[in-house]
């Protein structure tokens, strides 16, 4: 079923407003030659990647990008993106690939600067789809204020890939005086989340599984570096830990930080911001939104006295309007996440073993 839906999804993408700079008449799809060192590969670089990502470091087309960085510590991160479908409500693999790495750098306390982008393309992949992805990456990079300075393209035989895989790596400059990490959460810390949880995972699931809900659920995919910069500018060292709760959702992130810091985490289920349509979809499928992926949310562990300021700064930012204080850190039950339910009972929320699986009934 996934295969069928995927094809329909591709066909449904609207490329009317996009004009391909490539000689499409020759090759409307990726061929093995696009990954070789020859003319076809060069055309892809010259007519697609360069115009989209244009910046001084990239234009050298050297074997490595040569970068200017401020003195001090650097953060570096890498991530690979294999999402299906490639285009979904609220974004595409292109935005994900840029924002994912930008966010990993940002939650480390760094200011993201430069990214690399590597593509693994399947023979037969439509060029207009690649162009749409690259265009989305360029727009996401511009929004996040980062440059894509180096890249690579490989082509695999038909049947050996899933259309398009992307890897991005990125570097950023660490802000002086900021020292955050998953091991630094302390008893008493307030826990805040920057907005509604579960949007991305349910958006993907709704298109991937061909499920139709009354209102469309859109991915929350976004670059968080601006939002995080605002928070750090306001309260600086009061932020002890940050993380973007992507795969495994909020529950996995809170469990990871509880584990790394050797503390207990307590949240109030009633305080968790969840969109109505996401909650309904989760109910229908027997999923728990605390385990569903996000791509544009960040969880903060901050000194309790700074919490009101953090909440104010978050809510003033377009990406943080639904921010909420959801719990706190305790010295009790170390390495365990406990939620207080609406009924007033407590339940432990463990890390999931694998993917959440929809229930039979």
């Amino acid at each position: 079923m996934a295969e069928i839906v995927k094809e329909e999804e591709r066909a449904a993408v609207d490329f009317n407003n996009w004009s391909c700079p490539l000689p499409l008449a020759d090759y409307p799809t990726i061929v093995m030659g696009h990954g070789g060192g020859g003319k076809l590969g060069n055309e892809l670089v010259e007519h697609l990647f360069l115009p989209a990502f244009r910046n001084a470091a990239l234009e050298n087309l050297g074997d490595a990008a040569v970068l200017d960085l401020p003195a001090g510590r650097l953060a570096m991160s890498t991530d690979s993106f294999v999402v299906q479908p490639l285009f979904f409500p609220g974004g595409s693999i292109g935005e994900l690939a840029v924002n994912g790495t930008v966010n990993d750098l940002a939650v480390s306390g760094a200011e993201p600067k430069y990214l690399s982008a590597s593509f693994i393309l399947e023979e037969g992949f439509p060029l207009n789809q690649l162009a749409a992805i690259v265009t989305a990456m360029a727009a996401a990079a511009a929004t996040a204020g980062v440059q894509i300075v180096t890249g690579d393209t490989k082509v695999v035989e038909r049947g050996h890939g899933d259309g398009c895989y992307i890897n991005t790596a990125g570097v950023g400059a660490l802000r002086p005086g900021i020292n955050v990490g998953p091991h630094r959460a302390q008893a008493g810390d307030a826990i805040l989340v920057s907005g509604t949880i579960g949007d991305h995972g349910m958006a993907i699931m709704s298109v991937r599984e061909g499920l139709e809900f009354e209102s469309q659920i859109r991915s929350d995919c976004a670059a968080l570096n601006g939002l995080i910069a605002d928070v750090l500018a306001a309260v600086g060292p009061a932020v002890h830990a940050m993380r973007d709760p992507t795969r495994g959702g909020l529950a996995s992130t809170l469990n990871e930080i509880a584990g790394s810091s050797g503390v207990g985490v307590e949240i109030d289920e009633m305080a968790l911001p969840v969109r109505e349509e996401v909650r309904s979809a989760c109910e229908l499928l027997g999923l728990d939104p605390v385990y569903v992926a996000n791509e544009g949310k960040v969880v903060f562990f901050v000194a309790p006295e700074a919490a009101p300021d953090v909440l104010r700064v978050l809510r003033a930012h377009p990406l943080g309007r639904n921010a909420a204080r959801i719990g706190h850190v305790t010295a009790q039950h170390p390495r365990m996440l406990v939620a207080r339910t609406a009924m007033g009972a407590n339940r432990v929320i463990p890390t999931q073993i694998g993917e959440q699986l929809p229930r039979i009934c």
């Binding site: 805040l192 706190h328 009934c361």
Partner: protein, 380 residues
């Protein structure tokens, strides 16, 4: 959310719990039949809200849990065959057979797919005429109409490459088996609301009369469950034994008659083996003569299945309500959701998984401490 948040109101829940405390003068043992109810009771901590004497016993109503290991091994063998697209609901994928699960079959090259409706599997069969599409149709009366519809449609569309690996089980014979089992202590039942939405509750008055026990049709939200428990306790205290409907917004006495008509056409009653419990006479459905050609067991003659249950696992005792999950010596030690020894630890509706996932392995003092700290916190 309409019909959902209204039934999760903490204040009303506390009020209903207080009412149960007021009316309960003696200890009572009540079984919730359905795994979905077990899940909700443990997740929401309903059992912690009840008077000490009111004990909830978790019933056998988890379809994943009671599906015999032999059938799971058969499913794995079929799924591993070339040219087969094997479709299943999500939570069957992780159920271990004797030596592997469906995820491993998929990893080794089997075409295993999660679907949300058996009708999707029928469409898949129509689109892949060169493949054999098999749907793993397990479950109680709740999932049966959609499964029946799948073979009904396949027959009407003349699809010869669709089949159903079916192991349907029925609630009334299971209740009767529990009541007949030696040493039974269950005094009242919460009937499974979703099963009754299909079947109605016309099957139950004879049971209530014969065994002199109250049976209350109950939903799944916290307030539904508390209301079901309250009504059951009221009957027990008054010495009554009636069938009562505490899920009126979904369930009628007659149930869904169109579904029942289809079920009667597609299925026939048969003896069924229940994992951990054994064979219960006339406790399941299989495809009727008219639809036998769609039976995957007939289409794929799988021989040489050798099943082996873990000697440590006491899932059967858990499913009969004889022990609580934590009383099993393997619970949380050799047996965890990651390495389940029995199906009650695999399915999210299984009693063992519910206990494990919601932290019923940590001490009451630890949880109480967590609660005190949490309720004292200010939330922005």
């Amino acid at each position: 959310m309409k019909y959902l948040t209204e039934f999760r109101n903490g204040e009303i829940a506390q009020r209903m719990a207080r009412e149960i405390h007021q009316v309960a003068t003696r200890p009572w043992k009540i079984m919730e039949v359905c795994g979905g109810q077990t899940h909700s009771i443990i997740r929401n901590g309903i059992d912690q809200m009840l008077p000490a004497g009111i004990e909830m016993i978790h019933g056998p109503g988890c379809p994943v849990c009671v599906t015999p290991l032999e059938l799971i091994d058969r499913a794995l063998a079929i799924a591993a065959q070339p040219g087969v697209i094997f479709c299943s609901f999500g939570d069957m994928l992780r159920v271990p057979g004797t030596d592997r699960d469906l995820f491993q079959v998929k990893g080794a090259g089997g075409d295993v797919r999660v679907v949300y409706s058996p009708l999707d599997a029928v469409d898949l069969a129509a689109k892949n005429p060169d493949k054999q599409v098999v749907f793993f149709g397990v479950g109680f009366e709740t999932t049966a109409p959609a499964n029946a519809m799948s073979v009904h449609l396949a027959k009407r569309r003349g699809l010869t490459n669709f089949s159903l690996l079916v192991s349907h089980v029925l609630v009334p014979p299971a209740i009767e088996a529990i009541l007949n089992s030696p040493g039974n202590t269950v005094q009242g039942f919460l009937l499974a609301g979703h099963v009754c939405s299909v079947m109605g509750y016309w099957e139950y008055p004879p049971l209530a009369g014969k065994y002199k026990i109250p049976l209350v049709v109950t939903g799944f939200e916290p307030l539904d469950l508390l209301d079901g428990i309250r009504r059951c306790v009221l009957q027990l205290e008054a010495g009554k034994h009636e069938v009562e409907n505490a899920y009126e917004r979904v369930v009628t006495f007659d149930g869904n008659q169109a579904a029942q008509k289809l079920l009667a056409e597609v299925f026939e009653v048969t003896d069924r083996a229940w994992r951990g419990i054994g064979v219960i006479p006339r406790s399941g459905w299989r495809l009727s003569e008219a639809y036998r050609e769609f039976d995957a067991e007939e289409r794929f003659h799988i021989a040489g299945i050798h099943t082996e249950e873990s000697p440590l696992c006491r899932a059967g005792d858990v499913l009969r309500g004889a022990i609580k999950p934590a009383e099993c010596s393997a619970f949380g030690k050799q047996c965890t959701p990651r390495h389940p020894l029995g199906a009650t630890m695999v399915s999210s509706e299984g009693a063992c998984a519910a206990y494990y996932n919601y932290g019923r392995f940590i001490s009451a003092e630890e949880l109480a401490g967590a609660g005190a700290a949490l309720s004292g916190a200010a939330h922005g």
